[in-house]
């Protein structure tokens, strides 16, 4: 993930680069984002942040995170266990019992078990935008609560300020976006 911050002065640019890196890493977005560009204009109190979305992990199926046994599933990737249990309880109710941390007993027949193995537990694409917006919210200064998104393909761009967003800023953001698309920024 590439991060570039401009306009805030030497110290602030370096500080915000670090904030971008650690914040996005903390919410596990590092691998889903190609680049982040941020422009800080503290004098006018306007901040423009643009995130280029990168490769997203393919959906996680039950077979990706468990090993099928005799009327039981052994978890290999614990990260998605709450989502798996949610799915199982929703579909099979009392037929499901979590025996231990990594063992789930299922009283279902083989056909049903076979079908279950191809079920999607979690699709990272579903809530990607929400997670990126959460990340942006954590990065932008807290006082910049007036937000304006700029539409573009493959990018999330937000203008933030404590004042109403001026047309001039929107134009600037659009100009920045076109430069970024061309690869000049």
């Amino acid at each position: 993930m590439e991060v570039k911050v401009e306009g805030g002065g030497e110290f602030c640019d370096a500080s915000y680069e670090k904030i971008c890196m650690t914040t996005l890493r903390d919410i596990s977005l590092e691998s889903n984002i190609d680049s982040v560009y941020m422009n800080c204009n503290a004098a006018e109190h306007v901040f423009i942040i643009s995130v280029k979305i990168g490769r997203v992990q393919s959906p996680i199926t039950v077979s990706d995170m468990t090993i099928k046994g005799d009327e039981r599933l052994t978890v290999t990737t614990e990260t998605y266990v709450p989502k798996l249990l949610d799915l199982l309880w929703d579909r099979y109710g009392e037929k499901v019992e979590q025996i231990s941390r990594l063992e789930i007993a299922l009283k279902i027949d083989d056909d049903e078990m076979q079908k279950l193995m191809s079920q999607v537990v979690y699709d990272p694409r579903v809530d990607l935008n929400t997670r990126i917006l959460d990340g942006i919210d954590r990065i932008l200064p807290e006082g910049a609560r007036v937000r304006q998104p700029i539409r573009s393909t493959g990018r999330i761009t937000i203008i933030a300020s404590e004042n109403p967003i001026k047309e001039e800023w929107k134009e600037n953001a659009k100009a920045m976006l076109s430069k970024m698309t061309k690869g000049d920024l």
């Binding site: 110290f11 602030c12 500080s15 503290a42 109190h45 404590e162």
Partner: protein, 297 residues
């Protein structure tokens, strides 16, 4: 003048050290015995330092100076949101505590932003109950210059911290700003040291002023008496917090009269103190100068 230090060591001859402190007219402010380890905050007359140092050496323990001991400091951040907490807010507070201060942390209701940043009268009153305040602001120079104006109305010594290294603001410490991780690197610790030194000098100035116009009695002595008359409940820590000019006392409802009638020397506590219900916690006792109350003992 009393000197406040921290003793850390073992249990060997620990009771002898405590006896020695009492013998020379000192006070034990805080004491913790953890199996064979001990920690104690002690206050003693400055001229008796040699005696205490010798005794501590005998017990095999260590003495550490606590330059901010006896002061209550408020760490103020623009909000309690994830942008400011836990870093650097808690790092600063922890560092001040290591230097002996009692710290409180406070998030302003409308402290975020540049033009929109505000401080309410109640927040101002709460901050002014403490001996000093540290305002922890963000990175941008332009924001810091505008935002520092909300601190100007504060009537206690304060420090403003921010990111930009050089800003023309009084009592400013730079190179801190927004953090997303704990301040544990050498250069970050150095900045915290500089911050502490600045607060120390502000507190020392206030201490010197108090020396010129001494208080009717020492907050240390008053704490000792109040802890005897109104003992803390089981498990309660810091029921009486020392301040430069008095105490913050946390008492149960109904004990106010008892507090007013506590005898300090020949006088009642209400005669030598201004007692005020705290906007934040407990009661604030501001000891009047001896010039006003006359001799107490």
């Amino acid at each position: 003048m009393y000197k406040i230090m921290m003793f850390t060591g073992g249990v060997y001859k620990f009771s002898e050290l405590k006896e020695r402190i009492h013998d020379i007219g000192g006070f034990i402010l805080q004491e913790m015995v953890m199996q064979t380890e001990t920690m104690m905050h002690l206050a003693f007359p400055e001229e008796e330092e040699r005696i205490i140092r010798d005794k501590a050496k005998q017990t095999g323990g260590k003495l550490k100076e606590l330059p901010l001991a006896g002061a209550e400091i408020m760490v103020v951040v623009p909000s309690l949101g994830k942008h400011h907490a836990v870093d650097p807010m808690c790092d600063i507070a922890e560092f001040l505590r290591r230097k002996g201060a009692i710290t409180n942390m406070m998030g302003l209701a409308r402290g975020v932003g540049k033009r929109i940043a505000q401080i309410t009268t109640r927040e101002k009153e709460i901050i002014e109950e403490c001996d000093a305040a540290v305002f922890v602001f963000g990175d941008f120079k332009e924001c810091l210059e505008v935002k520092s104006k909300i601190c100007e109305s504060i009537d206690v010594p304060y420090i403003i911290t921010g990111g930009e290294p050089e800003v023309k603001i009084e009592h400013y410490v730079g190179n801190i700003g927004r953090k997303t991780a704990r301040m544990r690197h050498r250069e970050e610790i150095d900045m915290l040291e500089i911050l502490t030194e600045k607060i120390e000098s502000l507190i020392d100035d206030r201490r010197r002023e108090l020396d010129e116009d001494p208080l009717a009695t020492s907050p240390l002595f008053m704490k000792e008496i109040l802890d005897l008359v109104l003992p803390p409940k089981a498990g309660e820590e810091f029921s009486t917090i020392m301040q430069l000019e008095g105490l913050r006392v946390k008492i149960e409802a109904g004990d106010e009269e008892k507090l007013k009638n506590v005898e300090i020397g020949k006088r009642k506590l209400s005669d030598i103190c201004v007692i005020k219900k705290s906007e934040y916690d407990g009661y604030i006792l501001k000891i009047l100068p001896e010039a006003v109350t006359g001799n107490v003992f």
